[in-house]
Amino acid sequence: MSAQEIAFGIVGAVGALSAIRMVTTNNVVHGALYLVVTLAMVGGAYLLLAAEFVAWVQIVIYVGAIVVLLLFSLMLTKAPIGPHALDNQQRGLGALVAAAVFAGLLVLIQRAFSGIEFNAGDAGRVAAGKAQAVGSSIFGHFVLPFEVVSVLLLAALIGAIALARRDEP
């Protein structure tokens, strides 16, 4: 076990445990706060994989914007508290499907990717995670998808305003 693996193990365990708490908690606001922990730990995982720019984007957009939006809508809509109020009747079936998917992914990972290791801290990978490298890739090779994403964000903005505003004559 190397230091990188121990650090990733801690970050991953905290993130996974709070994700599981998020889908099993009986209080929606606690669920949103567990989601903050999970998203921050995913950002930490990006940092440990030397993807620095994606990590800060993750923190700024998810923890900064999306969770605040989710908390706002949780407070605007009243949600009952309690196990029967938050889970539906498909709970057992859902657990079964999730366990099946997890087992399938585990077998796939074990068969295809076990034993492969790489040094996330070498100079080339650290440079590949910086904003300069990612930016020159986005604005060089991926400039058309980038523009399409900006149009998509504009359309989503207009759509959200059109949906949520009250029509007053």
Partner: protein, 102 residues
């Protein structure tokens, strides 16, 4: 050194948890939060493979950024729809909003 299987395992846990959340939760906002969990699982995979393969174009990281942008758009529209449904029906439980179910 880090095993490639470690981030993939983390992402598999997040994805399975997200599937459980989407299927088992009644509250529409909780369902949206579980969808975010699954998108994050995909992003972890993309970044891990991008850093492992050391591609010249860094396509994994760029696509992770695109997925984050699309997730932001999706959550904005989704929450607008949830607020609209709450205003009309006084509930956001997904099993009570079954108007179109055969």
């Amino acid at each position: 050194m880090i095993h490639l299987a470690l981030p993939l395992f983390f992402s598999a846990v997040l994805f399975a948890t997200g599937i459980y959340g989407v299927l088992a939760r009644r509250n529409a906002v909780m369902v949206l939060m579980s969808i975010e969990l699954m998108l994050n699982a995909v992003n972890v995979n993309l970044v891990a493979f991008s850093q492992y393969l050391k591609g010249r174009l860094l396509a994994g990281q760029v696509f992770a950024l695109f997925v984050i942008a699309v997730a932001a758009a999706e959550i904005g529209i989704g929450l607008a729809i949830v607020i609209l449904i709450y205003r009309n029906r006084e509930t956001i439980n997904v099993d009570e909003i079954s108007l179109l179910k055969w």
